[in-house]
């Protein structure tokens, strides 16, 4: 990335430290499915009032909760849903998953780091060539990573 954006040299030091610190914890969590692009544009309303998930081409097996992180991230950016309802989603997820909200909050940091690092890597390696406008996403992704790193508190 430094070759592409020399001004961002060192910008990922803290996120990388945070991610490294969380790898061991992540390795002890159960593997499951990660959609990889779980956001509103890939969730279709059905006539019966349900939701159908499409676009599975990026799915893989991993424990991280990047799917929920991405869903919340994009919905906050859209800002079209009442914030109280949106902010209650992690707790709803915790209830549905049978875990406590604090655990989900922590999983969202790890999932956010995983998703954002993957997204940034895609932009740097592929996006800038295939989708030139993606170059404009770099700053936002780096900012997100740095914010997530601040929420990482080493044990």
């Amino acid at each position: 990335m430094t070759a592409l954006r020399p001004d961002l040299a060192g910008a990922l030091d803290a996120p990388v430290r945070a991610m490294t610190g969380r790898l061991e914890q992540l390795s002890s969590e159960p593997e499951t499915i990660v959609h990889g692009d779980f956001q509103a544009k890939n969730l279709l309303h059905t006539p019966g009032g349900g939701i159908v998930t499409i676009d599975w081409s990026d799915a893989y097996v991993h424990p991280h909760l990047g799917d929920l992180y991405l869903l919340l991230r994009e919905s906050r950016k859209q800002g079209r849903i009442e914030s109280v309802r949106m902010e209650a989603l992690p707790e709803l997820f915790a209830h549905e998953a049978g875990t406590d909200p604090q655990t989900v909050t922590d999983q969202l940091v790890t999932g956010g780091l995983c998703w954002t690092i993957s997204a940034l890597r895609w932009v740097v390696e592929i996006g800038v060539h295939a989708v030139p406008v993606s170059r404009e996403w770099i700053d936002e992704l780096v900012t997100d990573l740095r914010e997530l790193a601040k929420r990482h508190h080493p044990a």
Binding site: H35, K41, L43, L44, V52, S57, V61, L71, E74
Partner: protein, 178 residues
């Protein structure tokens, strides 16, 4: 030209679906997937060799294609169905093995042609509702729980990345020692 799936391999380490034609109404070519190993690991273990279905570009209606989403959605609809069936998941007969709501097969025509359910409607980005987001969160939680359960009961085999076997040079062609 209707697209034809030329080759799909889920059981020999390949992660590739080769499609000739324009399943997404755009470029022809080969499409790499991350889905097959997941299907292989999470799904049932009864691989069979069906006719891998594919669909003509006009089989899926797309009510409101977006510039970037067009094609990718159609391709995804095609691939998830094709892969599920190819993996022997019998999605349409036994229900929903991963408990993931997905497009359904509504008709099967001649060899290599299927018609998928037209999902209609808008996506959650076009028509955001709090109820839709809550439903998505429930689906995500259920999907992760179910998949974790299946993966735990059927762990993946160790990765096949062993060192290549030592080369045994035939005596007459082997490297010469001075």
């Amino acid at each position: 030209m209707s697209p034809q799936v030329q080759h799909a391999s889920l059981f020999s380490g390949y992660r590739r679906l080769v499609v000739k034609g324009s399943p997404n109404g755009g470029r022809d070519g080969r499409f790499r997937l991350g889905v097959p190993p997941l299907i292989q690991r999470v799904g049932v273990r009864s691989p069979r060799r069906p006719v891998v279905p594919c669909t003509p570009p006009n089989a899926i209606q797309q009510p409101k294609p977006s510039a970037l989403g067009r094609g990718r959605r159609e391709l995804s609809l095609l691939l998830i169905q094709a892969l599920q069936q190819h993996a022997g998941l019998d999605w349409f007969e036994v229900g929903d093995p991963l408990r993931i709501p997905a497009p359904r097969l509504v008709a099967e025509g001649d060899r290599g042609v299927i018609v998928l359910a037209d999902l209609g409607g808008d996506n959650l980005e076009e028509r955001p509702t709090a109820e839709g987001y809550e439903q998505a969160v429930r689906i995500l939680a259920r999907m992760r729980a179910e998949s974790a359960l299946r993966l735990a009961s059927d762990p993946a085999p160790p990765p096949v990345c062993a060192a290549p076997p030592p080369i045994s040079w035939p005596r007459r062609h082997g490297p010469t020692r001075r």
